[in-house]
């Protein structure tokens, strides 16, 4: 390794010495030209010099203008707003057109002034016999070339501000839009979607922790359905409001294909409202028409996907945020509304999958409104399906296998080691009571089950007592006792393994079985 460095160092030294040598050569040649000037006579030399430099000015002008045009043409299909890169958002076209509106007068000025500058430099070079003219000012010209730029600038300002104020306007009270959130942090983006309620839950930076990267306040019900996808999926044609914030330093939310950019500031939520108008598929199909994109993505592997096929919209960070500023990437997908809806169904609430029931869950041990609601619905559905199954009602009390008639009472809990019902249990039991009232002919068997820890006999007694308490509660709600049987099965009917905590927890349960309907 050190040999290699030495070789490389030597190479560097040799290159540097060559440069120094080159410089010395140039210096000597230049001194010669001084000498030459003195021999030939300053005037003759100056004459030739001015002619040469003057011609060089002219040639440079031609070269510059031609190369500018040619290079722009060569690269045009890579630039946003040209070729396949028409804007993928509703406001993007306006901005692209404004760019061209600006390009026209500035391009004209660029060409004309450069022609004038270099042409005059060549035309008025000092040669033998030439003279300058003492032309010091012309007020008319000053007025003209102040007024014309002023008028053009005014036009650009008006067009620009009209576009600006329209693009940057926030959503109005009765606008229909999807609000999502992007949080920049060193060095990635957290995306958060509002879930079914359409509302983003509140957050507090002091609550940020390992399993709560955004500091979401889990006591705010709006947070329960929020999910954190890896990719930003958007339905085409629907207005989106992105709430943008940062967690540590400044970042910037940049969607180049959509002409969207806004800084992410810690402590100051910002926003950008836009409507995607082209699905990822549509954009790919447009790229397909251009030879620059009809090449394999990996030049080393001709079998790899084509560049156009592999295209995806991307989210980038556009404000220096530290050493990995260049790698904060998320894929953005714009899909049809149907595809979007399907995608939504596949997303899981972050709270439910990562927090609920854990120590960090402030609602641990409590029942949440939506859970009560969901449970009620599940109960109703189960009973309806049992009803539909009709005479498939199993009158055999001894059946072990869970069947369509066995419905778990997950939210019926007891004080630890005792048979007293917890306060929250009443919710589910009230639902059950309602259902029993709804189906006056329904009969149920209430069963208590324990895990296999401890004395089996004691377990059996405990489970019996618990089942009895459930029955007693229902009786207190007005259900005829005769419609219900309470059985304690102890640890005899596990539904999961007894070797793990989770398995044992599942085994500790209360259920009821519909025995008649």
């Amino acid at each position: 390794m050190y040999d290699e460095i030495n070789v490389q160092t030597m190479t560097t030294v040799i290159i540097l010495l060559s440069i120094v040598l080159l410089v010395i050569v140039i210096m000597q040649v230049s001194k010669l030209s001084d000498l030459y000037a003195r021999i030939r006579g300053e005037e003759a030399v100056e004459d030739r010099l001015n002619r040469n430099q003057g011609m060089a000015m002219l040639l440079f002008m031609v070269g510059l203008l031609v190369l500018c045009v040619v290079s722009a043409w060569w690269w045009k299909d890579y630039m946003m707003g040209y070729g396949p890169h028409k804007a993928a958002s509703a406001h993007g076209d306006t901005l692209d057109r404004l760019f061209n509106t600006t390009l026209l007068p500035t391009g004209i000025v660029f060409v004309i002034t450069h022609i004038a500058l270099f042409y005059f430099a060549w035309r008025y070079k000092k040669v033998k016999g030439s003279k300058g003219k003492h032309w010091a000012h012309n007020n008319t010209l000053e007025v003209v070339w102040s007024a014309i730029p002023a008028v053009v600038m005014t036009y650009l300002v008006i067009k620009g501000l009209l576009a600006w104020n329209s693009v940057m306007a926030d959503v109005k009270a009765n606008d229909a839009y999807v609000e999502i959130e992007a949080t920049g942090y060193q060095f990635a983006w957290h995306l958060r979607y509002p879930g079914a309620d359409g509302l983003l839950g509140s957050r507090d930076f002091k609550k940020i922790s390992g399993d709560n990267p955004l500091g979401q306040d889990w006591t705010d019900p709006k947070n329960f359905d929020d999910f954190h996808p890896d990719e930003m999926w958007l339905p085409v044609g629907k207005k989106v409001r992105v709430r943008i914030i940062a967690r540590d330093v400044l970042h910037s939310f940049f969607l180049p294909h959509f002409r969207v950019k806004m800084d992410a500031v810690p402590g100051l939520p910002t926003y950008f409202v836009f409507t995607p108008t082209k699905t990822t598929e549509e954009y790919r199909n447009e790229l397909r028409n251009y030879p620059e994109y009809n090449v394999p993505k990996d030049p080393a592997d001709p079998e790899s996907k084509m560049l156009w096929e592999d295209f995806n919209y991307e989210l980038a960070c556009a404000e220096l945020c530290g050493k990995s500023h260049y790698s904060m990437r998320r894929i953005v997908r714009v899909v049809s509304e149907d595809e979007y809806k399907v995608w939504l169904t596949k997303q899981h609430s972050y709270y439910l999958s990562a927090i609920r029931g854990k120590d960090s869950d402030p609602n641990k041990g409590k029942l949440l409104d939506f859970e009560i609601k969901a449970n009620r619905e599940a109960l109703n559905t189960a009973i309806e399906s049992a009803e539909k199954a009709g005479s498939g009602v199993n009158a055999n009390y001894g059946a072990v296998a869970a069947d369509i008639n066995t419905i778990p009472l997950n939210y019926v809990q007891f004080e630890t080691g005792a048979s007293t019902l917890t306060e929250d249990s009443k919710y589910q039991l009230n639902d059950l009571a309602d259902d029993l009232k709804k189906y006056p002919l329904m009969k149920i068997e209430i069963s208590g089950h324990t895990d296999d820890v401890g004395d089996p006999a004691a377990n059996k007694i405990l489970s019996q007592q618990r089942a009895d308490n459930v029955k007693a509660y229902l009786v207190a709600q007005g259900i005829t006792a005769a419609r219900m049987t309470a059985v304690g099965y102890g640890s005899s009917k596990p539904i999961d393994t007894s070797n793990t905590d989770e398995g044992r927890q599942k085994n500790r349960r209360t259920e009821f079985k519909i025995t008649a309907l």
């Binding site: 002034t113 500058l117 600006w164 330093v249 050493k323 260049y326």
Partner: protein
């Protein structure tokens, strides 16, 4: 331009000049200087000018070298940089295969330092510092600056700032790496970036010293121009260089203190637990206590200087260009009064456009309306200046000295860079273009090239005034053409990258499909940069070689210029003029006048009868 003309000048000054009794007062041992007071802690504006210039050249080499290193990373990301390990040490990591890669944190330190060094140390101190010191006393007809002592301090505070910043380059946690704009919270939190620790502390200290230097210089320049002009030198007879340097100094005095206030608040946030810029931050696993501050406050305070700063950089270059174009076309600068008014307008407007750097920062979009309006307005006086420069060439008698080549190149670059400013100044377009290579292209063309060209024009033109010798013209022309062509080659393609959305300050582009399409272009840019860098080395050699071995100046006024700095002896001493100071009778632009036998009439030449009559009739 001949010995006879020199004698004429001397005679005129002796007979018609103004006797301010300078040399009677400055007699005897009191003003015998030793080596230290003559060359080191000099209070003579001519030496101080050279001190600024040489320190500026030193920093330019460092700043440009940094750009070559990071351009190597950008142009050739897959190539090994192991060969740089002897110089960069721990900032190059070598993997098992022997591939050397540049530490990304250090890449950002290079980019940050490059910007800081070139903007502040080279283009502010090296450009204004040099030419304000050199030209203001001369062109006003003054003996020296109003306070030579403060002037000396101005240079030495710059020196102190330089030492501090140079030291920070060698810290083990690395120099500051958060961009020359130093936005908090990144610049406030060492947890967010290693360079934001000691590196940032030194950066802030260095720039505080630097601002002291600018303020001390600035008060001197303004006072000298307003109070120490010689007899007959009314404001309207001043050359455009002095107008430009005057307005530059005023801009500096008014805007740099705001930067320092922004820095002080940042120092408080960093070290005293305040929350001016910080609010609701979770970094490195902890939530910080700070609540209530706003990073946007810093941006306002920074850019309140930051925008005038770019005009502080370009105005002197404009002044130098105006002078060089005029002298070497043998024509008055076209529209002198319009040029003065444009300088004043640009100076004034430069204070009310700062938030065009902040369109996407999260400020209320409503206020951006005002900044768009004023930004596009500032294009008008800038355009006027361009048209006036071009008209200066019209019907001229042009000598293509190196200085003149750079002055013409300046106009081209200012047009190119200025026009892209019109895109960026329109906030709606800035949504897409902000923080992309389009911005990088824009500011490099106006600052990195145009301002430098003005500086080169100044150096080549006034080198004889500084050292009594000429720089080699052949090397100067080679320097010009390589730089002119090369600089366009470097920065023009960056517009395309910006238009494709490629963000700036990216260590590599291959993490994004959208930005990964310019490998060939980046290689091209890097190679062009290396060639242009080599041409600058040629300039540096030319500069230092010519100090001792350049062609000697044999007459006082080799360029046939009208301004007063060419009426002093070839090696001017303390007090500039050995006897009286010249009395001024005319403006600085009487070139190619009809009835004159020479194609120039210096400012101290009295009016002819005919001229007096013409003036009476106006």
């Amino acid at each position: 331009m001949s010995a006879a003309q020199d004698q004429e000048t001397d005679v005129l000054i002796r007979e018609q000049g103004y006797n301010d009794h300078f040399h009677e007062e400055h007699h005897g041992d009191k003003y015998q200087s030793n080596f230290i007071t003559h060359y080191i802690f000099s209070q003579d504006h001519k030496i101080i000018a050279r001190q600024f210039l040489i320190t500026g050249i030193f920093w330019a080499i460092i700043g440009a070298s940094m750009s070559i290193i990071f351009r190597l990373q950008l142009g050739f990301p897959e190539h090994s940089m192991a060969w740089l390990k002897p110089i960069l040490g721990k900032w190059i990591t070598i993997n098992d295969a022997g591939m050397g890669s540049l530490n990304p944190e250090f890449y950002y330190a290079l980019v940050t330092m490059h910007g800081t060094i070139i903007v502040f140390f080279v283009l502010t101190a090296g450009l204004s510092g040099t030419f304000a010191n050199l030209l203001i006393p001369f062109q006003c007809g003054a003996r020296d600056m109003a306070s030579p002592f403060l002037n000396m301090l101005s240079y030495w505070f710059f020196f102190l700032a330089s030492v501090t910043m140079f030291f920070s380059l060698f810290l083990s946690t690395g120099p500051f790496a958060g961009g020359w704009t130093a936005y908090p919270p990144l610049s406030a939190l060492k947890e967010a970036s290693d360079g934001s620790g000691a590196g940032m502390t030194l950066w802030l200290v260095s720039l505080t010293f630097f601002v002291v230097s600018v303020l001390l210089g600035g008060i001197n320049y303004v006072t000298t121009v307003l109070n120490l002009r010689t007899k007959g030198m009314s404001l309207w007879r001043l050359p455009l260089t002095v107008w430009a340097l005057l307005v530059t100094a005023i801009l500096g005095i008014l805007s740099f203190p705001v930067l320092v206030s922004g820095f002080f608040l940042l120092m408080f946030d960093r070290g005293m637990g305040t929350s001016f810029y910080l609010s609701e931050i979770f970094v490195n696993g902890h939530a910080l206590e700070n609540v209530g501050g706003s990073p946007i406050l810093y941006q306002h305070l920074f850019w309140f200087l930051g925008h005038p700063e770019v005009y502080i950089i370009i105005l002197p270059a404009m002044g130098l260009t105006s002078e060089v174009l005029s002298v070497h076309s043998r024509k008055p600068i076209f529209g002198y009064k319009a040029m003065v008014y444009s300088i004043l307008a640009i100076g004034f407007l430069s204070f009310i456009v700062w938030a065009h750097h902040m369109f996407m920062s999260g400020v209320n979009p409503f206020i951006s309306n005002f900044f768009v309006i004023f930004t596009l307005i500032i294009a008008v006086p800038s355009a006027v200046k361009v048209f006036n420069w071009i008209s200066t060439l019209y019907k001229g008698n042009i000598r293509f000295t190196s200085a003149m080549l750079f002055a013409i190149g300046f106009v081209s670059m200012f047009i190119s860079g200025g026009l892209t400013g019109i895109f960026l100044g329109n906030s709606a377009l800035d949504i897409q273009l902000h923080d992309t290579y389009f911005v990088v292209a824009h500011f490099h063309i106006v600052m990195g090239i145009a301002a430098f060209f003005g500086m080169f024009a100044g150096v080549y033109n006034w080198f004889p005034r500084m050292y009594g010798r000429f720089m080699n013209e052949t090397m100067g022309r080679i320097h010009f053409w390589i730089t002119m062509i090369g600089a366009y080659a470097i920065f023009w393609p960056m517009h395309y990258m910006g238009m494709a959305g490629v963000p700036r300050r990216y260590y590599r582009f291959d993490t994004f499909d959208a930005f990964n399409q310019f490998a060939g272009l980046n290689q091209f840019i890097t190679i062009a940069a290396i060639i242009v860098f080599a041409a600058q080395i040629l300039f540096v050699f030319n500069f230092f070689y010519s100090i001792w071995y350049g062609k000697k100046m044999t007459t006082q006024n080799p360029w046939g210029s009208n301004t007063l700095e060419w009426t002093v002896p070839i090696h001017p001493g303390h007090g500039n003029w050995p006897g009286n100071i010249p009395t001024v009778h005319r403006w600085a632009y009487d070139y190619s006048k009809e009835d004159s036998d020479k194609d120039f009439i210096q400012q101290h030449i009295p009016l002819t009868e005919k001229e007096k009559a013409e003036q009476a009739n106006h």
